[in-house]
């Protein structure tokens, strides 16, 4: 979105604030002022995910042009790194905190990042690191972009396999990274499908094209795989190595060859700007809705002055509207009941869903333990358990997302049905006023502002990202089995060894089962706490949003009614004067509305 356009919309918002203040509607003015701050900085979080050793960290480094994520031929990334804009270089470690479920931040030296982020870890670290935040002064990040470099899937000893997926819960864009040494594997395709369910803006970045002469063929093969799987994801081939060389030599040609220039453009135009444009368009829509509210009073007044014979009919209509808007505010209104019941149901269903999932896992785990010796299978078993549990956490989150979206739509429907749009339904607009011309489109825009657009952003704001991003997969450790001396019985034959082994086996099995249960319970507790608090936040946000709208409507209808009833006893001359004034005022408001509408339409076309 161009700077000019931004300023244009900002001007509209400012006029909106001015108008609302002039017509003594501080509530609407506040709503628009709050918008200004938000619209200026639409944060875009981009999560970089994929299997390990595919070049995720290199990609982030070469995109921002700084070594913020540690890159090594061998050691892989172990915790997520958040890279965002800051005036100076600074870094923090995200540390779990008993008092705060979101964790706390500990400053760490910028030049020692890799000790905190890689598999090698910091053996004597003073705290347990769940993630790292880095701020650097880079232009690319300046318009609110945050990159999350995630630990790759499949590395040994990395219990964070699903953490990458978890970060999608707070990310607007997901970059899936796979190198061009070979076509997609089954594991990768499955992963992509999971990711696709969590994030609607996925980009596939094919890395290391400098190294593999046949990268074009790999990309073609992958396109076919994606098409077969029904995934509509764009593939962008890049070489981080060439990008780094380009930066070093300040060579634009190499930069283009690296594909990174294209990727950055693509991210900017297709994703970041689209989001930015959405935020600004929504701002314009809000101004539009404010215009409508302001004009309702003026229109009511005007129609009384123009045709006093209609006063009674108008007053009764406005009284009716006022009653409806009052009932919207009441606890017994349908949208409130839908919301309250819905949240309760949501809470119960999400909880039940997760319990069900955990139950299946516990059964499966029990079977596995029953079939083998916990001691020999434990090393594979434990990561399997952690992995499958965190996958279920992600699936549960997906379910929560879908259900909350559905609920938010339902509440919106009921709000509108019960009078959320009652201002349009009023007969106060006379035929040739400019305001009535925009009414058709305006109605549509209004509905969008109050309903659909809210869903996903609302939820992203509600979810406590800390759990999904950083705690997942390492919520709690599975209790280790106490090592029981195994009679290795080297020289003994197989049969005698079996006897020896059988003694401890039973004990080990029951111990292993207890350990699995304890782990699952702990996870259930954590996830339950988190999803309940998410539900609470969703509830609060929806309630606040619609209560505010109801209040505004109520005030608008009340003022319109007051205007209609208090204008009766004036002289003809005064009336004519009033009509002229009001027409001019309505014209101004309608003008503002018209401008908003034009902006919205042009953005929609772009």
């Amino acid at each position: 979105m161009s700077e000019q356009k931004r300023q244009e919309i900002q001007a509209l918002v400012n006029s909106g604030v001015k108008a609302a203040t002039a017509y003594e509607r501080p509530d609407l003015a506040t709503r628009l002022s709050a918008l200004t701050v938000k619209a200026a900085k639409p944060d875009t979080t981009i999560a970089v995910l994929g299997q390990f050793k595919q070049g995720k960290s290199s990609l982030v480094n070469s995109l921002v042009g700084a070594t913020v994520c540690s890159v090594d031929d061998d050691i892989a990334t172990a915790v997520p790194t958040f890279v965002r804009y800051g005036e100076t270089d600074a870094a923090w470690a995200l540390v779990p905190d008993d008092d705060n479920p979101e964790g706390r931040r500990e400053p760490i030296p910028v030049d020692q990042l890799e000790t905190y982020t890689t598999e090698r870890g910091l053996p004597d670290a003073p705290f347990e690191v769940k993630g790292v935040e880095v701020e650097i002064p880079r232009k690319l990040l300046q318009n609110g972009i945050t990159f999350i470099d995630t630990p790759g899937v499949g590395g040994l000893g990395s219990a964070y396999a699903t953490a990458g997926l978890g970060t999608l819960s707070v990310a607007e864009i997901g970059i899936f990274v796979s190198d061009t040494s070979q076509e997609l594997t089954l594991a990768e395709l499955n992963y992509l499908q999971q990711a696709n369910g969590l994030c609607s803006n996925l980009v596939f970045v094919a890395t290391k094209i400098d190294l593999y002469p046949a990268w074009r063929k790999v990309v073609e093969l992958n396109k076919a795989h994606l098409a077969r799987a029904g995934l509509e994801i764009e593939i962008i081939p890049v070489s981080s190595y060439l990008r780094d060389e380009a930066m070093r030599l300040s060579d634009k040609k190499i930069n283009e060859e690296s594909g990174c220039a294209h990727l950055v453009r693509e991210l900017r135009t297709t994703y970041v700007e689209r989001r930015e444009s959405n935020v600004w368009t929504n701002a314009a829509k809000d101004v539009l809705s404010v215009c409508e509210q302001l004009s309702s009073k003026l229109e009511a007044e005007l129609s009384v002055y123009e045709d006093p014979t209609r006063t009674d009919a108008l007053v009764s209509e406005l009284e009716n509207a006022k009653t409806r808007s009052e009932s919207l505010r009441s606890n017994l209104s349908r949208w409130q009941i839908t919301l309250n019941d819905g949240i309760q149901e949501l809470n119960a269903d999400i909880d039940h869903d997760f319990r069900q999932r955990i139950r299946t896992i516990t059964q499966e785990a029990d079977n596995a333990i029953e079939d083998g010796d916990p001691l020999t299978i434990w090393e594979e078993f434990e990561p399997w358990l952690v992995d499958i549990v965190s996958q279920e956490v992600v699936s549960n989150y997906r379910y929560l997302t879908e259900r909350s979206m559905a609920l938010s739509h339902e509440v919106a429907e009921h709000f509108v049905d019960d009078g959320g749009n009652l201002l349009h339904e009023l007969n106060i607009y006379t035929g040739d006023h400019p305001m009535s011309k925009v009414q058709g489109d305006l109605a549509l825009e209004m509905k969008e502002t109050t309903t659909a657009a809210k869903g996903m952003t609302l939820l992203k704001g509600s979810y406590s990202g800390m759990l999904m991003c950083t705690m997942l997969g390492s919520l709690v450790a599975v209790a280790p089995l106490t090592p029981i001396a195994v009679g290795v019985g080297l020289v003994m034959g197989r049969k005698s060894l079996k006897d020896e082994k059988a003694r401890g086996l039973k004990q080990r099995k029951s111990e292993a089962k207890v350990s699995v249960r304890r782990y699952c319970e702990e996870v259930q507790f954590q996830v339950g706490k988190d999803s309940r608090s998410t539900c609470r936040k969703v509830h609060r946000q929806l309630r606040d949003h619609y209560t505010m709208r109801a209040e505004e409507l109520n005030r608008s209808t009340a003022e319109a009614l007051k205007a209609a009833t208090s204008t009766v006893q004036t002289s003809q001359a005064e009336r004519n004067q009033k009509v002229r004034n009001l027409t001019a005022e309505i014209g101004r408001v309608a003008d503002l509305a018209k401008k908003c509408e034009l902006v919205i339409q042009s953005e929609r076309k772009a």
């Binding site: 590395g155 089954l186 290795v488 080297l490």
Partner: protein, 493 residues
């Protein structure tokens, strides 16, 4: 023939008598036949780990087809023989069918004769070549692929439900250790004591040049990684060693042509700052300006054969002036690709033990046969005797002790455990390898070292603080040392 070989042969003869006239006799004959044949080494790994490429490098010919896409879909055996021949074994049938093949464009092209890949159990390629004389190589389809049928074949092959695995040893190829690598490796292994781990498998970091992004120092980096992987607890249980090999370069080095050498020479004649920018990426190398030597098609072919890493290495070698013929270049590249080291390890670790490994497979399979006929007269006695051989023959005890050490069950000082592994032959069974000495060490030096170690371990074995398990391992190591001392004394005379 060694003691184990003699005893295994003897028990098989006995088995022939016991099972004479029953269906099991066919199985016993098969076991014998296998004992006399070459060692079977399977090459396994995830899809695109470079299995076929490495197989070609080991054979020294471009036999197995390789491609950017997934390629090997059928388990294929490559064995030595008198004539060039390819047999196809349809699924569920023991009767092989001879099929047509051609080899116009290097790689073998087999006409499946109407069979789809999913209907074929395996292909057997007979190829008269000295490199297959002592070893039969088995190429397997990769796992973790979008082709589920091929993956199932590999799992069935390495971890069959009914019979023992057809391979005596495994080369496991991987790009990095991924958790799915682990599950495949684990499938090949068995946790019972007579079937110990980490004694018949080597992990190969098969695209070693790529871990370092094809940089000139990539192999050094790969070596460091292999070393660390070698210390990884889970992997130690499963494989003896982790060896880095730049597969593509190895394949090319063993099949280098004069034309390719001349082309590289032409490139190397140009100044490095002139060629340098074209070596930044594969695309740049192919699409270089017309003034660059060679046509872009030739350069593309070179790149396909050498990879960017190989081209960089070759140019560095030619420029260094130490290489003036194609065979010198081939030797240099082989050395750099790590294939020389792998050959060496194969011959000492697998071939040096080939009789024991084969005997082990044979005894294991015979035991299964006995178990299948528990009521047959003589079967129980045979089973007991089998157990006696397995538990008393020194080479088997050595393998068990080694496996126990690798599994981390034995507690002791790290330094002690490491030396014990060495004595038990983790790096190979040559005296110098067991004693951790240079290969050029003299007989005297070796004997002195053996005697010194012998003393050291005997002293430790007498220590009451040492755990029972550790003592058992030490006893085995002492026996191994005694054996070496006897052999070394005999060699001197």
């Amino acid at each position: 023939m060694s003691d184990v070989g003699v005893r295994t042969n003897a028990i098989l003869e006995k088995a022939e008598q016991v099972f004479a006239g029953t269906e099991a006799l066919v199985e016993v004959h098969a076991i014998r036949e296998r004992l006399d044949g070459p060692l079977r080494v399977a090459i396994a790994g995830k899809v695109k780990a470079g299995k076929s490429t490495l197989l070609n490098a080991l054979v020294g010919e471009r036999l197995a087809p390789t491609d950017t896409g997934e390629c090997t879909k059928i388990v294929t055996w490559y064995k030595d023989g008198v004539t060039y021949n390819v047999d196809l074994f349809p699924t569920g049938s023991d009767q092989p069918k001879q099929v047509k093949f051609n080899r116009d464009d290097d790689a073998l092209e087999v006409d499946l004769g109407g069979y789809g890949p999913e209907d074929v159990d395996r292909l057997e390629v007979t190829w008269p070549t000295s490199s297959l004389r002592r070893i039969t190589l088995i190429d397997t389809p990769g796992v973790d692929t979008l082709n589920a049928a091929a993956e199932k074949k590999t799992f069935d092959f390495l971890d069959p439900d009914d019979t023992d695995t057809p391979a005596d040893a495994v080369l496991y190829l991987m790009k990095h250790i991924h958790s799915s690598d682990m599950s495949l490796l684990e499938a090949f292994h068995d946790d019972t004591a007579s079937h110990p781990n980490a004694i018949n498998a080597i992990a190969v970091l098969s695209r070693a040049d790529e871990v370092g992004g094809g940089r000139i120092d990539a192999m050094a980096s790969a070596k460091k990684i292999s070393k660390r992987y070698g210390e990884e607890k889970r992997l130690r249980r499963l494989v003896q060693l982790v060896v880095p090999v730049a597969g593509l370069l190895a394949e090319t080095a063993t099949t280098l042509t004069e034309t390719e050498f001349r082309q590289l020479q032409q490139l190397a004649e140009r100044k490095s700052n002139e060629i340098g920018p074209y070596l930044l990426s594969a695309d740049r190398f192919i699409e270089a300006t017309p003034e660059t030597p060679l046509t872009s098609i030739e350069r593309e072919q070179l790149l396909g054969r050498f990879g960017l890493f190989g081209v960089r290495q070759s140019l560095a070698l030619v420029r260094s002036g130490n290489v003036s013929t194609s065979s010198e270049l081939a030797a240099g590249l082989k050395e750099r690709s790590g294939i020389v080291k792998l050959h060496h390890i194969l011959s000492t670790l697998f071939m040096g033990r080939s009789e024991v490994l084969k005997a082990r497979s044979a005894l294991w399979r015979l035991d299964r046969t006995c178990a299948a006929y528990p009521d047959h007269p003589g079967s129980a006695e045979l089973s007991l005797e089998l157990e006696r051989i397995v538990s008393s023959a020194h080479p088997f005890r050595e393998l068990s002790a080694l496996a126990s050490l690798r599994s981390g069950w034995i507690k002791g000082r790290d330094n002690d455990l490491e030396t014990l592994e060495q004595v038990l032959g983790v790096n190979g069974t040559l005296p110098s390898q067991r004693l951790g000495l240079d290969e050029s060490s003299s007989n005297e030096e070796l004997r002195a070292a053996a005697a010194e170690q012998h003393q050291r371990w005997q002293r430790l074995a007498g220590n009451p603080m040492v755990s029972h398990d550790m003592q058992t391992v030490i006893d085995v190591a002492v026996r191994s040392l005694e054996g070496e001392m006897v052999r070394l004394s005999a060699d001197r005379k």
